[in-house]
Subunit: 191 residues, 2 copies
Amino acid sequence: MADSTDPRVTRSREAILSAARELLREDGPAAVTHQNVAKRAGVGRATVYRHWPQPRMLLDDTMAGVRMPFFRDPAPPVRPWLARQMRTLADELALPEVQAVTAALLHGTPEEPDASARREHLIATISGQLGTALDSATRTGELQPSADLLDAPATIIGPLVFRSMFERRPVTDAMIDHLLNALGTWTAPST
Amino acid sequence: MADSTDPRVTRSREAILSAARELLREDGPAAVTHQNVAKRAGVGRATVYRHWPQPRMLLDDTMAGVRMPFFRDPAPPVRPWLARQMRTLADELALPEVQAVTAALLHGTPEEPDASARREHLIATISGQLGTALDSATRTGELQPSADLLDAPATIIGPLVFRSMFERRPVTDAMIDHLLNALGTWTAPST
DNA sequence: TGCTTCTGAGTCAAGTTGTCTCATAAGATG
DNA sequence: CATCTTATGAGACAACTTGACTCAGAAGCA
């Protein structure tokens, strides 16, 4: 049943998850209840319970379905790679779904006590990737950091989050550029 | 009744709001229900309904009771004033209450459709104060901005928010200093 | 075709929400 | 101190939600 290929199952699951994502996006995590989801998905309430006995799991899978922005596969030269990642991150942070999940990560609902763990994991991954990339840039001489690189995630990503989620305005390329400059002195690698 | 001085009323109201704040801090906005608040405050459920017929209003007043960090009363020289404000903001962002309200601002609960308005107002106030201060610093020559000052709120406050709410680590004075430097070139005013 | 499995509709108990009533006690007024 | 006023807590109440269960029937499979 878990990995069933029965088309009825997949159809139900997809309808349910899609409805759940809509609800999460529109009304927040609290709205992702079995009843709401069933009604929105045009599916029997019992069916939702069958697939996700606990509401926590439903919200979990719903959030997992929203691709959270990562800093994947660092590759030299670091600066243009970082700029691309920041651009992607900024664009994704503009999506209501991603905003909803991000907000949900910040204060776990009562039914989602794992929000802290999920948040920590996300942050650890991002910081790890970013740290690796910046360390390597420092080692190759591409970057001379002007401050503790442990502050880099906050310095770089913080403004993007603030701009997207608090100010709700688009992140400009100029802003990304300026944030990169604030990290330290960049030297174009041997071309 | 609204501005009653009856000690019974004030006693009830304070007990209720205090309990509501605790719940908001501990379990998030969704936990601020009449029932929960009444039980926690040791007060009849009807009493809570009497004072706040709509749950929205209760959550509203609860959030209003949490002092949100502002950038008040800009005064030259701007740089040390800004550093102090950022220190204060960072310290407040470390408080669970402030974090809960901030998170609630990011995604209004269904019962709190005014969250957007509240968020916009808060951001507008902060950006306004910050903009005024930085403009004046630019005019007096204290600051030569290295980027669009409209990005300043995101550049300055974003990292503090990210550090406090996502990374959950303390903001160092060195980080504040570095963020200020990233704004542009500062010139000590005539001493 | 016949067999298996998933589905939707519906029932049910337990709990929550919002509204109302009423005796009581706390506070104001003389 | 006596009396009037008003907020309070307890409880009753219907409407609704939640989670668990049953069952006939439809969809998929052999």
